[in-house]
Structure formats: C-alpha cells, structure tokens
Amino acid sequence: MYYNPVFVSRVKQVIVAFTLFLAFFVSKAQAATPIDSVIADTVVTVENDAQHHEAASHEAKKEEKGFDITSFIFHHISDSHYFTLFGHGEHGIHLHLPIILWTDKGLVTFSSKEFNFNDDGTVAVEKNGQRFAMAHNKIYYANETADAHGSFVSHELNDKGDEVVTNARPLDFSITKNVFSMLLSIVVLVILFTAAARGYKKRNGKAPKGIQSFMEPIILFVRDDIARPNLGHKYTKFMPYLLTVFFFIWFNNMLGLVPFFPGGANVTGNIAMTAVLAACTYLITTFKGNKDYWKHIFWMPGVPVPMKIFLAPLELIGTFTKPIALAIRLFANITAGHILVMSLLCLIFIFNSIAVAPASIFFAVFIGLIEFLVAFIQAFIFTTLSALFIGMAVEEHH
C-alpha cells in the first residue's frame, strides 16, 4: 500500500499545531466551552465530546443567551431538510426540500416549508390524518398535545445524560440536503465524464483536449498508481468501480468544502454514504474472491492445525473490519475537517470580539486549503484500499 509518509506526517503536524494553538487560546480565555475537544480526530472522542457539549450547552442555554457552538457546528455537519442559500431562519433564502415518509398508513409527502424552520417539535403538521413534528432535523409522529414547552415530542434523559426524543419515527425517505447534494454531484459527474468520453470518440487516437486533457491524467493516475499495483493484470474489470468511487468521493469532498450553495452539504462526511461505499467494496471482495482467498480465511495454509483453527475466526472478522474501517476513516476525516474549520470560525463568537477575526479567518482559510488536500488524499486512500482489498481477494497464488 502506498502512502507518502512526509505528506501524511505534515498534515498531522499541522493538526497538532492547531490543537496547541486552540488549547492556548481556550485556557487564556477561560471559556466555558472546552472548544479544543472538537478537533479531536477520532470518532470516539468526537462522540464523547459531543455528548459532553450537549449537556453543557443545555445548562448554558437555561442560564443565559450564550452562543451554543456545539449545536451550531453539529447543525452544519449534519443532514437537514432545508438547503440554505443565504441568511438564517425566516429571513434567509432556502430551498425547501421535499419530505417523503413511509408511515403506518402509507406514503406521505409534503414540503419541508410546512415545518416553518421549526426544529424543536413545537409545530405539528397534519397529513393523511397523521401528525408529524420535527426535532433536530428528524421527523417524529407528534403527540396529541403539546407539553409545557409547547413541544409535540416527548423528551427523556437517557443513561448517558442526553436528552433524547422518545417518539416513534416514520421511515424517512426525504430528499434531504445530503441526498440533494449527492444527486447534484451525480448529475455533474455524469455530464462531465460523458463529455470527456465524447471527446475521446470525436478525437479518436489524437491527443486529448479541453476537459478530456484535464481528466485524463487523473484517470491514468487511478489506473497506473491505484488499480495496476494492487490488482495486477486483472485491473480492467474493476476500473469502472474504482474510477467512480475515486471521482465520486473526491468531487463530493470538494463540494463539501464550498461554503455556499450548491456546496456545503456533508455528503462524504456522513456515515450513511461512506457505509454504502464501503459495503460496495465489501460485496465485490466477497463475491469476486477466489478459492485462494477463502482458503486463506478459513484454513490458512502453511501453519499448524491449531493455528489454523485459531486464525479462522480472526480472518473472518477481518473481512468485516476492513470495510468498516474504510467507512469510518472517510467519515471521520471529512467530518473532522468540517468541524475544525467551523470551530476556528466560531472562535470569533466564543471570544465575542472582532479582534480575533483576522487570526480566526487566517487559520480557517489555511485549514481550508489543507482540507483541499485531504479531500484528494481521502479519495485516493479509499480507492487504494478498495483496490488493495479487491486485489487480495482475486490474487492468484502460485
């Protein structure tokens, strides 16, 4: 497997440098919110911190106005039923994406406009004799009556101390921000590459030109540096998948970095997307795996029998952990990048001072540039590892 060690370590250095930078600022300001934790790059810490934040921010909310940075950031990286062009709430301009629900009584569709930007369950929409309320961008069956806060959903504290909504949920097949953004990227990719393909047809055998010459080096990079080293002479069969994965991830990573419409969605930083991609790689390795591959899993050649028995379950688990790691890696990297940029910008609001803005924006732009590299690297790593796993499955042992 090929990594550029210098490059990766540099990225890490930068991340470490920023952690220190943030830690320094936070300790100086004695801010109530432990902002440095949000840049932690493992999922587990993100999760724990988020819980911590949520609890902390809820208390803060009760006490005074305060700027709830955690929910602000998580609102930005999570899915939504609106696509905000600019502005905020009722004063902004938004795309109201359609809500498609599969309920107990069949299919229900309506526009997200009917919730009127309400996100705490205080508006109930009645359709087909059922009432729905939206809380934290999720749609629930609404209660008959509102509670003391005017909310149609019931809250309950779970064992970790988080407030969770206990209402039942219909199956939500809405065209959310992520779905919209992903469909858009698919349209763009199809147009882009069919245009390139037309170029090849029109200028058959000649040097590439225009969009064709922009795409060709990248396509050749995928073929010569990703597919061929890992798959050998069998690479042609898997090229369509690898190329699609590479360009899909890369394009969506880049689109996620664009702060305004049509970017801004967090498609590749959503576990659902990365899970689907990783599942595709898993299915290919499983169904294209040859006899040798399965033999190496269940009855490892060249080791004593007790070892074979010991290794079999490990190898079997390994087949699942590989795609899971793929999914988590992409999700965590892209999400961490978004959180990092948002946190840097939020420094202005935490200090409540415009004086912080130059430093904050400078570092946000700097991290943004690094994220451009990360966008490419993560697409490259995902594709390389997919090729590697497929290569291991189809490899012929002599």
């Binding site: 779905v179 576990i271 659902a272």
Partner: protein
C-alpha cells in the same frame, strides 16, 4: 450519537444513486474512455515499434550501402590498376616496337650507307683509275726515260690508292 447511526432513508438513496452512477459512468464514460486510452497507447506502442524497425532497416541499408561503396571502390581500384598495367604494356610494346623499328631503320640506313660507300668506292675506283691514267700519262710524258723508276712510282701510287 446521531453522527454514527446511518439514516435508513439516506442509506437507501445513497445505494440507489451510487449504483446508478456506477452503471451510468461505467457504460457511458469509463468504457469508451478506457478503450480510447488503451487503443491510443497501443497505437503509440505500435508506432514506436515501427519506428524502431525503420531505424534498424535504415541501419541495415546504410551498412549495405557502405558495403556497396566499398565494393565499388575496390572495383574502381582494380579497374584503375588494370588500366595502368594495360597502359604500361602498351607503352612497353610501343617502346619495343619503336626500338625494333628504329633498329630496322638504322639497319636500313647502315645498309644504305654501305651501299653508298660501295658505290662511292666504285666511283672512287673509277676516278682513281682515270686519275692513275692521268698520272701515268703525265709520268709518261715527263719521265719516260727512267722506265723502272717510273714503274715503281706507279705501283706505289696504285697501292696507296687501293688502300684507300
């Protein structure tokens, strides 16, 4: 945590959309693009191979040409050499011929001279005889008295003439 739990709706949409994308791009983009790139690479390889062959052919032709040139040069040298020897022969022949001719001419001239000499001698003899007669006449006329003396004188004279 919300972030780690995939939404069922997103999963469904993502799966459908991604499979559609793989299908569409696979059919309408990657297949023609990869084929075109592969064909072009093949073409370039072929062209390079052909160029290599042409180069070899050129080298072969050049060496052949050199061989031919060498042969031609050798042939030319041979021809020149032959021509030279021929020329020498001709010159020698001509020389010997000329010598023979000259010798012949000289011989002829010698014979002619001999003949002329003989003729001259004959003529001289005639003249000598007439001269002798003259002398005799004169002697007879002047010294007829001493006959013996005279005779001796005549004989001596004749002898001298004959020796010439």
């Amino acid at each position: 945590m919300d972030l780690l739990i995939p939404e069922i709706g997103l999963l469904v949409w993502n799966t459908i959309a991604f499979l559609v994308l793989v299908f569409l791009l696979g059919k309408f983009a990657w297949k023609p693009i990869m084929k075109a790139i592969h064909d072009r690479e093949q073409n370039i390889d072929d062209a390079l191979n052909k160029a290599e062959l042409a180069k070899q052919e050129m080298a072969r032709l050049t060496s052949q040409n050199e061989e031919l040139m060498k042969q031609a040069r050798e042939e030319r040298d041979l021809i020149l050499k032959e021509a030279k020897s021929l020329k020498d022969n001709i010159i020698n022949e001509a020389k010997t011929q000329a010598q023979a001719e000259g010798a012949k001419l000289i011989e002829k001239a010698r014979i002619e001279i001999e003949n002329q000499k003989k003729a001259a001698l004959a003529e001289l003899k005639g003249q000598v005889s007439s001269l002798s007669l003259d002398i005799a006449e004169r002697v007879l006329r002047n010294q007829l008295d001493d006959k013996n003396k005279q005779q001796e004188l005549v004989n001596n004279l004749l002898k001298d003439v004959e020796l010439n």
